[in-house]
């Protein structure tokens, strides 16, 4: 079993960071993992996406084009990728930025007003972590201990003050 995870949104929303955390969850659970960013003329405000594979077998293609887990944080990415989710897959949608609703009944969609929640709760810029928290609640990805360990690894020491804040945002997402 390999989880094929696709994360997409605007540059600056923390899409790649979210992907890196997920990849570390896999690494610390002794899984095979890969992380692949879209690269190119992307910039802050441009579209950005990231493929993460977590599995028991060595990863063949690190490029995810048919995700079983999709997290989308803007409308262009929603329009582009919602149709590519495999049957039985799940999609987490930042409903404060994406107005559309999915009419597919073969996938599970979770609408989380993550950006609004983040702003209201003093967690500006951590909508990605709220969505990640919701994913951890809805899918069997990893344990809270691993989440903490991965967060401490991914956030550089000079920004250690952000570890707690990010973990809180994940907790908020898990409570939804």
């Amino acid at each position: 079993m390999t989880n094929q995870i696709l994360l997409a949104g605007f540059g600056g929303q923390g899409i790649l960071f979210m992907g890196k955390l997920l990849a570390y969850f896999g690494l610390y659970e002794d899984k095979e993992v890969s992380w692949l960013p879209s690269y190119g003329p992307e910039m802050r405000g441009g579209t950005c996406n990231c493929s993460v594979c977590i599995g028991d077998e060595p990863i063949g293609s690190p490029l995810v084009d048919e995700p079983d887990i999709l997290i989308v944080m803007n409308t262009p990415s929603y329009d582009k990728f919602i149709g590519s989710v495999v049957k039985g897959g799940i999609a987490l949608i930042d409903s404060s930025l994406i107005e559309e609703k999915c009419d597919r009944d073969d996938i599970k969609c979770f609408y989380v007003p993550a950006t609004t929640l983040a702003n209201e709760q003093g967690m500006k810029g951590m909508a990605n972590m709220i969505l990640l928290g919701k994913l951890l609640k809805e899918a069997d990805i990893t344990s809270p201990e691993t989440v903490k360990k991965a967060m401490e690894k991914v956030i550089p020491p000079k920004r250690a003050n952000l570890i707690e804040a990010n973990l809180k945002a994940i907790e908020l997402g898990m409570s939804l």
């Binding site: 570390y24 692949l36 690269y39 293609s61």
Partner: protein, 355 residues
């Protein structure tokens, strides 16, 4: 081995170069390999090395030429269009019998092409990496960990045979992160000891060494080139490498290298689950080309399938390896498009008479 961590292929390769004793790096930025320069610009000064961003690719390779002549381990890296610019210098380095490592993180071509992953520089790197009679060693890793392991091997073999070594990656391998581990050995920068040919300064204690690729007397130049080709024969006989899986009973043998081999292997494993007898062989060295290994892998096969991110540049080498004794088909995508395992599987099914 230390704890595994996630690193981009480009960064892992850069760290591995330091650990292989690469003391000097001369580069010029280009997508998708810029992380190599960026990483080394931070790390090299801290471990006693020299990082230099040259004014152009041409300047960078000529700095490598000079540095390699002094017997110091040195490296440059670029992506496809930048490698084309370096080819003059690479030819001079080969013509002067100097070791160095050159990284090509390939992108789509020709011309400025695109910036997405590609393998369209196969012909260039294996057949004509500059003017004149010469070869470079060419390694094609398929994972981030293998990128790391290949760097030391490339430096060692370049030194052993006094010739340039190329690590041929692509945008996929350069940009992706995978878990890697490095051994815990302390970083030790290279020097010119064990290189009696190096122009390393001698305070008149020995006869001076000359680094040169100019030989105006044809018979003298012929002797030089012939001697070099004797070394090449030894390398071809002893140092080619390939990895094969599921080939013993395979009717169809897939041949793919680098990141494409990963995609093809996924397709082969899916085909096996469907009951199709398919195997895969992955050339690890592209020069020397693993002729014997491909012959052995294809011994019981009815057909071969070459898969590449190009228009099929390796096909002729595979045909020659088996003396055209069996049909060799091709599937590929180019221009920066990454073939999907499902597409490769469809091609395998078609060849296996099942669709």
């Amino acid at each position: 081995m230390a704890e595994k961590k996630l690193m981009k292929g480009n960064e892992a390769l850069a760290e591995a170069a330091l650990r292989a004793g690469c003391k000097c790096f001369f580069g010029y930025p280009i997508t998708p390999q810029t992380e190599i320069s960026a990483y080394l610009s931070k790390r090299m000064p801290k471990v006693g090395g020299t990082f230099l961003q040259a004014e152009s690719e041409v300047a960078a390779i000529n700095m490598v030429y000079g540095c390699a002549g002094s017997g110091i381990r040195c490296m440059t890296s670029s992506s496809s269009p930048g490698i084309s610019l370096k080819t003059e210098g690479i030819s001079y380095i080969a013509g002067s019998d100097l070791p160095c490592v050159i990284i090509n993180v390939q992108r789509g071509g020709p011309g400025l092409g695109g910036i997405q992953p590609s393998q369209a520089d196969y012909w260039q790197v294996t057949h004509a990496l500059g003017h004149g009679d010469f070869h470079a060693l060419v390694f094609a890793p398929a994972s981030v960990q293998e990128m790391v392991d290949t760097v030391t091997k490339a430096f060692d073999m370049a030194d052993e045979f006094r010739m340039p070594a190329v690590i041929l990656a692509d945008g996929l391998l350069g940009q992706m992160m995978e878990p890697v581990a490095f051994d815990d050995a302390e970083i030790k920068m290279s020097d010119a000891s064990n290189k009696p040919w190096a122009a390393s300064g001698h305070k008149n204690a020995r006869k001076h060494n000359i680094i040169n690729s100019l030989y105006l007397q044809p018979d003298q130049l012929e002797d030089k080139v012939t001697a070099r080709f004797k070394r090449y024969e030894k390398i071809k006989a002893e140092r080619s490498e390939a990895v094969s899986d599921y080939c013993e009973d395979a009717d169809i043998v897939v041949v793919a290298y680098g990141s494409t081999a990963r995609l093809a292997k996924s397709a082969v494993e899916s085909a096996r689950k469907e009951g199709l007898k398919v195997g895969i062989i992955r050339p690890v060295t592209l020069w020397p080309f693993p002729v014997k290994q491909i012959q052995a892998a294809a011994e019981n096969a009815k057909k071969l399938l070459v898969v590449e991110m190009s228009m099929g540049q390796m096909v002729d080498d595979v045909k020659l390896a088996i003396n055209c004794s069996k049909p060799v088909e091709f599937y590929g995508r180019t221009g920066g498009v990454i073939p999907k395992p499902a597409e490769i599987l469809a091609k395998i099914r078609e060849m296996g008479g099942k669709d």
